[in-house]
């Protein structure tokens, strides 16, 4: 007889690093083992890819309509080869990443878009995905725990000294940045920007959520650009919602990324496979009830 699990908390299990290091996938062939291991052990994983590498492996033009399904209309309206290929490469990355978790063929999947443009896997709510891309980097996160948002930016992107600081920061954030040494300010702003994007994407809001109305504070001892962060209100009050975890990390190729992850599923070992989603006893009972 197994012991009951009385009151599971939400603290990440000891020994698990959050966020796990994103693994590199050179193309549709992977390697995917690293992602699968992260998903199975912590319910969350990330992959990064090079747009140029994936672009070189795109399916031929005459196969794209069928492969893209309902995305074809969007694809065909994009102006220019470059935009189209970027779109196709990102859709391929999402499909392949999701297919690993679901154990399905990537092109048997269907992407759907929320009313604000957030991407989901239609019909499969056991996983949630989030995509971010900039220049040559494609970054895709996937979770079986609840919802996820990720964002990435080139580490050298200049935000400090621009109007963006006034538009995106809360008062306490602006004060903390003003207190930081000049050479650290841009890095801190970049962290805040990616965290806000990631959280807002996880909520399905993109840039709709007013960025100056919520803030992030890096955890004690992690005052730099990467590490764990806490969500706070516009006045700097911490938001005590332990279902959420926030962190920033570095991505190879000179990028920073942020992850916002919510655990609402509360299962010790979430099974995400499509092949086990339908309940065999229910299927059998319905089949038995049918006239021969």
């Amino acid at each position: 007889m197994s012991a009951a699990a009385p009151d599971r908390g939400f603290a990440p299990a000891p020994g698990r690093v959050f966020p796990p290091e994103p693994s590199r996938v050179g193309g549709p062939a992977g390697p995917w083992a690293h992602l699968l291991r992260d998903l199975e052990s912590s319910g969350f994983g990330m992959v990064h890819a090079s747009l140029d590498e994936w672009r070189a492996q795109l399916p031929p033009e005459d196969e794209r309509k069928e492969l893209l399904g309902r995305d074809w209309e969007r694809y065909s309206k994009l102006a220019g080869v470059h935009l189209r290929e970027r779109f196709l490469a990102t859709r391929m990355l999402i499909r392949h990443t999701a297919a690993v978790a679901l154990g399905t063929e990537p092109y048997a999947l269907e992407l759907r878009y929320g009313l604000n443009g957030r991407v989901h896997l239609r019909g499969y709510d056991q996983i949630d995905v989030s995509l971010s891309h900039t220049a040559d980097l494609l970054l895709c996160g996937i979770t079986s725990l609840g919802v996820v948002g990720i964002d990435t930016e080139p580490a050298g992107r200049r935000l400090s000294g621009q109007d963006v600081e006034r538009l995106m920061c809360t008062e306490p954030e602006r004060k903390r940045i003003a207190r930081a040494p000049e050479e650290e300010r841009n890095g801190q702003l970049l962290s805040l920007w990616t965290l806000k994007e990631a959280y807002s994407k996880a909520l399905g809001q993109g840039l709709r959520f007013p960025f100056a109305e919520f803030g992030f504070r890096m955890e004690e001892g992690e005052g730099g650009r990467t590490g764990h962060a806490r969500l706070e209100r516009a006045d700097g009050t911490l938001v005590e919602d332990h279902t959420w975890r926030f962190a920033t990390c570095e991505v190879p190729g000179g990028h920073v990324a942020a992850v916002a992850l919510q655990d609402t599923r509360r299962s010790g070992r979430p099974d995400t496979r499509a092949s086990t989603a339908l309940n065999r006893q229910i299927l059998a009972a319905i089949k038995r009830s049918r006239p021969a």
Binding site: P6, E110, L115, F214, S267, D271, L283, R290
Partner: protein
Amino acid sequence: MYEPDELIAAALGADPQWQPDRLTRARSRLAEIEDGLGDPWSPDNPVGLAAVLAADDSGDSSVIGIRRFQNLGMPAEMVPAELGGKMAGVDLLGLVMRPFFRRDPALAFSHGFTPFLGAQMVWLNGDARQRSRMANVVLRGGMVGVACQRFEHESEFHAQEFTAAWAEDGMLRLNGSKGAINNAHTAELIVGFVSTGDGATDYSILMFDPASVPPSRVRALPRHRTTGVRGVQAAGLEFLDCPLPGESLVGTWGDGVALSLRAYPAVHAAFPSMAIGLADTALRSAVRAAQERDYGSQGVVGDASARSAIAGTFADLLIADCLSLTAARSTHLLPEQCDVLAAVTKYIVPKIVGEALYDLSAVMGDAFHAESGHDAVFRKQLRDLSTITFGHVSSAICQSVIAPYLPALAFVDPDAATTPADLFRLEVPLPPLDGERLSGFGGDDRLLDYLGHAAGRLPLALTGLPHADLLTGLVAGLCEEAAEIRREAAALTGDDDGLLFDTRTFPLSERYALLLAASACVGVWLNAGVGPDEFLDEPTWLVLALHRLLRRIGRSVPPLPREIEALTCEEVLARVRVPQSLDLLRTGLAG
């Protein structure tokens, strides 16, 4: 149904036989419950939102709220008339539970939904003695606990399961431990799904009083804290070779899954309807927060983002109401066919409503993260919704019911039965639920074909009304999608056992669900499902509802004229001001 002149005659006292019709009775009962609960926004109301927030923070259930639930006669609303209760239909049950879901989802979930779930299993499958025993417990406000089976795609309530076997003494032996059973420690009766483990069968359903078993054979495990509905008293139980009398068995040994499938339709249809009350409060609280922001001279309606989120959420609540009304009525009117429609309702409504509420987070802004005061109500409702809808495991159960029928969509039956208009009309009384007929599992949704029929009726129905071309175009888009779904259904492959499914089943089931939701909206509109209403009679809300459903389906749609969302948003603001419920019935609220 009385004709208007008969109503006038009755009102003048000319007809001594006159009885208020079903709609009037429903409105009057809702007014009575609202009145008994008082203004939810009043800080002094012991069953208001401030008190509920405080109880939620400390993880308690509201004692006064429970007493009020009983004094207002809510338990009887769940019990069929032939067992001494007042339940007059699954559609009405969903409605009358809304005032409680509006204020205290934890209480409504534990004292309303959970007993109903457990009791349905017994009332539709048990013998006369079991049915009466369960009815007596529910009627006197006793607690019922439900121990769910484990699913491969488990959740907190669907991890672990009990096992049971027959012993030589003719009694059952119950074993195993389960960490999360709602009402586990307070239940007078537990309805448990137990694994039979005999190799030939899978599950059985048992009903027993946990206080009547030998104390040495049962152990109370600690409380299980849920993320939302924090006042819910879920906890664990462990049984060690625990003897149970043979009459604990509900229905036939080993038939547990088929028996539960008879009960699912009423549960799947009632729950989304109840949850509309929860979402009503969330939308109302977002409107209150928005009105405290400075939107300039044009106010909330002048802000495109706020207008769209508020109007859109209301349209989504009306979609949820149309679909759950139709599904609930189908459990009575088409019991042999209702299983898929009800599963579709439980599958898609939490997704539609959940997405709408998240869109309101941007309207809330800083207030979205409030942890006290009336703004904190919004995120609490969101958290509660996430917990009580059971998330993915519930989707998986619903998809398991829907999937076997998808291939049949490929075949259009020229002799198919027409869709009865009574499916959409709340005013028409319903026959009682019939367990035998509910075991038909016919799966004919009656809504996919209805779209074509409705498209034919639209030109006449839209005479003299605005947006006729737009609405006609949207319905044409839905009909095209129905044809596409049939084509895709024809291409699905499976095995001879009927147990292995083409993975394209999953996305198809979602688009199919969205399409049935759209069809239910059209049906309710064409048939004036809740009687005359100056806002609902206009096609404005229907245009917005169908537009959002088509966007979710992934089909291109024409741009919406600004006034569609503006008028809908204004209607929400008016209903918040008056106040009236944000659903089809527009009942007066206490606050």
